[in-house]
């Protein structure tokens, strides 16, 4: 260990604020872009599923046993 105590580790002989700011921003940005990318993929999959689900039900073998009811619009 290059430091005697946790306090010394945080202060880093006066350079602490510089070092910790860098590490904070680094992890903040890398974390944000990772989570955002994960959510994007999930959103696209969810969107596709929503768009596809009625037609898939129609095509599936079980779908033959019932007919879709189209309620009149008026």
């Amino acid at each position: 260990m290059a430091f005697d105590s946790f306090g010394a580790f945080m202060i880093m002989e006066g350079h602490g604020p510089y070092v910790w700011t860098c590490y904070f921003v680094f992890f903040l940005l890398m974390g944000t872009v990772s989570l955002w990318s994960l959510r994007q993929r999930r959103a696209v999959i969810a969107q596709h599923r929503r768009a596809e689900s009625p037609r898939v039900r129609e095509k599936s073998p079980a779908g033959a046993s019932f007919t879709r009811i189209e309620p009149s619009q008026d």
């Binding site: 580790f9 860098c22 994960l38 994007q40 768009a51 898939v56």
Partner: protein
């Protein structure tokens, strides 16, 4: 050889491979990065001149190196788009451009914060810093141009040309510290020489560089998968995949 090349061009094949690779890339990458950073922050000796402020190097150098590598990879992909018209190459460029921009920003930001206690200034218009700022704007340009043209094919070609034109900036960044007088110091690591740094410093640095490269690999796979899902939404394999994942 050509068969692999054509297979690589198949989005479906890539999607499967990426899914298998991603957990490895992420967890090995995170472990290496964590090891490098913990070692660098807490155990590496301080520098005789700069003291502890030099510990910023363990993220500054990985971010700066990767920012340039990502651009080089994008340039290769741009060449593939223009010559072979491979769709997956354009998918790669679109997927990684924002990541490259973030890495470039991080390199500039950590450099500025490091510059204040060591040089005495946050920013100076020397050749290294300015060419790195140009790289950031190139990434922004690629993102903006891609978004501005709606036709997929012409958009892909325009983006590829811009990426290729911008690639001349990469050697300028690398050699700026040798060709011109700059405030930024020359490279500590050269291929032909021993690093001018003790092993207690360069081993953790190497670990965090490798870790960040792997994490980038994970991010690239993830973002390419998203892009493929958007583009190939109407194909049968995507429909089947979406249903299979749903339950």
């Amino acid at each position: 050889m050509w068969q692999i090349f054509h297979k690589l061009g198949s989005p479906k094949w890539f999607f499967g491979i990426a899914s298998k690779l991603m957990p490895w890339l992420l967890w090995v990458g995170l472990s290496l990065l964590a090891a490098g950073i913990v070692w660098g922050l807490g155990f590496a000796p301080k520098d005789y001149l700069q003291g502890n402020s030099y510990r910023i190097i363990f993220i500054h150098v990985p971010a700066a190196l990767l920012a340039q590598s990502v651009y080089m990879m994008m340039a290769v992909a741009g060449l593939v788009t223009l010559v072979w018209r491979m769709k997956l190459a354009d998918v790669f460029v679109r997927a990684v451009a924002p990541v490259g921009a973030i890495l470039t920003f991080l390199a500039l930001f950590t450099g500025a914060v490091w510059g204040k206690p060591t040089w005495g200034t946050w920013w100076i218009w020397d050749a290294r810093l300015t060419s790195m700022l140009i790289l950031l704007f190139l990434y922004f340009g690629v993102m903006a141009l891609g978004a501005a043209i709606s036709d997929e094919k012409s958009s892909a070609r325009a983006v590829a040309v811009l990426v290729l034109v911008g690639v001349v900036n990469i050697p300028i960044i690398k050699y700026s510290v040798e060709w011109w007088n700059t405030l930024h110091q020359p490279a500590t690591f050269k291929l032909t020489e021993k690093p001018s740094m003790p092993a207690e410093m360069w081993v953790p640095l190497l670990l965090s560089v490798l870790g960040l490269y792997l994490i980038f690999g994970w991010l690239a796979c993830l973002r390419m998968q998203t892009e493929i899902l958007v583009r190939e939404g109407r194909t049968r394999w995507v429909k089947e995949l979406v249903q299979a994942r749903g339950n």
